[in-house]
């Protein structure tokens, strides 16, 4: 049955998430935008407490997406400080064994706040993840990691806080290309792993984006996710690489949900500002009778809706155990671009009020942009959509 109504329980969760975002994120939003590398410790403790109550226990499903939209409506950067297994956890879920899930994530909710990060990007490769140069060499019962990872989202928190973890992508055999790509769990505080630098960014400044260096970093052999075997015969059908891509199928629509929150914040702001001035958006009026402002706003709203439904569908499919590679890239490509445009248009519409740092709108425009970049740029996601609809391999469509 086609249905667009969240369950009563989900509605309650959404309300709680919204209240949390409004009362705890919004008041400090500007502060952490201006003090980029300050850590909102008090807020993190509150988020951790909420997490154990369930409000902020977020996974990769429709219910989580609904709450994530609310939280990012509050502040996307602060949302990204929320403790939890995060992208590292998603990677463990996507390609770890049962034993590994238990070992790495089992105790995640106990004790103090902790984070899980995923380290993929390097200075020489972003979207082309198969070109990574970080190496993992087996040495008896251990793996030894060497290399440098950049743009690791909440990487500092994951690498330095007690009981955190960083999932690192490295190659065990450069000559094997994708087949040699494997992921490894590096627990926080492992000697040889250190945070080299924190980036200064256009937006989502509350969220740390770290460079992490691995310098003869030794981890137990059983910390490899998936099989250590390298199948050179078939370079495209490789579990390691596929594991990374499967993680993206789950996380891309979640980025969609984050994007939606920022987009809606901007839309709400514009709508409220206009209402205060007595400008009402008239729906159902024929196009030639609408003002340019009404047309703009309706287009923004429609694009927000389009992105939202694509996002929810991608996550719903995952919950139905349906393959959602196409749909998840559709959602991500649409949402990333839609909110980029929505927020940019919103600033334009509001004129000096949009451009001024007296209000948060200009910040949301800066925050929004990242959604069209991380977890696969808009272009990479378009490429995936194109390959899927054409049934083309990466060799047939480069």
């Amino acid at each position: 049955m086609i249905d667009f109504e969240p369950t009563p329980e989900q509605q309650e969760e959404v309300k709680a998430a919204h209240a949390f975002a409004r009362d705890l994120f919004r008041p400090v939003s500007r502060h952490y935008d201006e003090h980029e590398h300050d850590s909102p410790d008090e807020l993190i403790d509150k988020m951790w407490a909420e997490r154990s109550k369930g409000t902020l226990a977020l996974g990769l499903d429709v219910a989580s997406a609904l709450r994530i939209e609310e939280l990012c409506w509050g502040d996307a950067g602060l949302f990204m400080c929320s403790p939890g297994p995060g992208l590292g956890g998603a990677a463990v879920f996507a390609s770890g064994t049962k034993e590994q899930m238990e070992r790495f994530l089992g105790g995640f909710n106990e004790g103090g706040p902790k984070w899980g990060a995923m380290a993929m990007t390097e200075s020489g490769c972003g979207s082309d993840t198969s070109a990574i140069t970080t190496t993992a060499v087996r040495d008896g019962d251990h793996w030894v990691l060497n290399g440098e990872k950049i743009f690791v989202t909440w990487g500092k928190r994951a690498a330095e806080n007690k009981d955190g973890l960083v999932v690192v992508w490295a190659t065990v055999d450069k000559s094997a290309g994708r087949a040699g790509m494997k992921s490894f769990v590096v627990p926080a505080g492992t000697p040889g792993m250190r945070v080299e630098k924190l980036e200064k960014k256009l937006g989502i400044r509350a969220s740390d984006t770290a460079t992490i260096v691995f310098d003869d970093c030794r981890i137990p052999f059983e910390n490899i996710l998936g099989s250590p075997e390298v199948k050179k015969t078939d370079k495209t059908q490789t579990k390691g690489f596929k594991g990374a891509m499967a993680t993206f199928d789950a996380t891309r629509p979640i980025v969609g949900a984050m994007a939606l929150g920022v987009g809606r914040a901007a839309l709400d702001f514009v709508r409220e500002a206009l209402e205060k001035e007595g400008v009402k958006i008239r729906y159902g009026v024929r196009k030639h009778k609408l003002t340019a402002l009404e047309r703009d706003l309706m287009e923004m709203e429609a694009n927000y809706k389009a992105a939202r439904l694509l996002t929810l569908r991608a996550l719903w499919m995952m919950s139905q155990l349906l393959p959602n590679n196409l749909e998840s890239s559709m959602a991500k490509a649409k949402a990333g671009l839609a909110v980029t445009r929505i927020t940019q248009k919103a600033v334009e519409i509001m004129g000096p009020l949009g451009y001024s740092q007296k209000f948060l709108l200009e910040k949301w425009m800066r925050d929004a942009k990242i959604n069209d970049i991380f977890e696969g740029t808009g272009q990479i996601n378009m490429l995936i959509v194109a390959r899927r609809v054409l049934d083309y391999s990466r060799d047939q469509l480069k």
Partner: protein, 364 residues
Amino acid sequence: MISFSPSEEQQMIVTAVKQFANGEMRKIYRECEEGGEIPSSVVDTAWQMGLVASSLPEECGGFGGEHSAITGSLISEELAWGDLSMAMHILSPALLAYPVLETGTDAQRKKYLPLVCDEKFRAATSALIEPRFDFDPYSLSTTARLDGDQYVLDGAKCLVPLAAEADLLLVYAAENGSSQGFIVERGTRGLEVGEREKNMGIRGLATYGLSLKNCRVPRENRLGGAKGGDFERIMNRSRVALAAMAVGVARAAFEYSRDYARERVAFGEPIASRQAIAFMLAEMAIEIDATRLMTWEAAWKLDRKEDATKEASLVKAYADDMVMMVTDRGVQILGGHGYIREHPVELWLRNARGFATFDGMAMV
């Protein structure tokens, strides 16, 4: 609970309509377009599927099924994928039946619904659009004035599907500034059906202009009686139906140009293996899916009897733009071949341009 899966029954209907669209409509659509005529045998075959009658009450001759805008959207998309002219022709009785069912009086339901529940297709229609650039359904130039026991209708209409053969026409007119529907029977004095129109697209569908001059109908023919009809709900049902049809037309153009791009070789490779073409197709696919989901959401609101004006008008405007973008690219991807009438994409582009104009010409 949020779900994107049509019910089993809906899936069965979709499968049947798909089969019909692919097996029957797609075989003759070009002939119908060029000849301006749709064979009655095909219309009858479609009619026997009970696409309209199934959602009308048993006591009125229908099958007593639920009248669902979501089901209507699913059907509309598939039929429009087959051919837009035929889809509008086949579903034209709904133009009268659904407004009567939804907002008519009991007496109107009993009197008129059985007329569209025949085993054989019987045309019925409605007349909303007026021949002006600034046509506005909420501010109609056609007027209705109460004179004793009769309403007097005056004005001009255009793009009225099957007006020449329809036994019943639901004519919309402004009564003291508000849009109301009036049921006009064929042959009523003062109602004149003009020459068959020639349009840029939907040339298979017979549409006409109407002239109403001192056209008198009994007072009880006012849709919804003294209370009047729910014009907003009718408009929203039409917006949803048209958005669904736009998705069907766009999907047709997308699939055709996608298959063409995979086969057409240039510079030693299929053109689809170039990002310039592939990215066009990716965007087409994304926007088609997005519009379908928005259509479902608006339909879902209608089925819950909630105010759907925002959702329906947003998706209608979105679909108008989407279907133009997609069909234009369909022609573009085929290049010179797209311009030639041997391929269907030029026809879909012409049909697509109509959606921004077709207010009230389809109904779920």
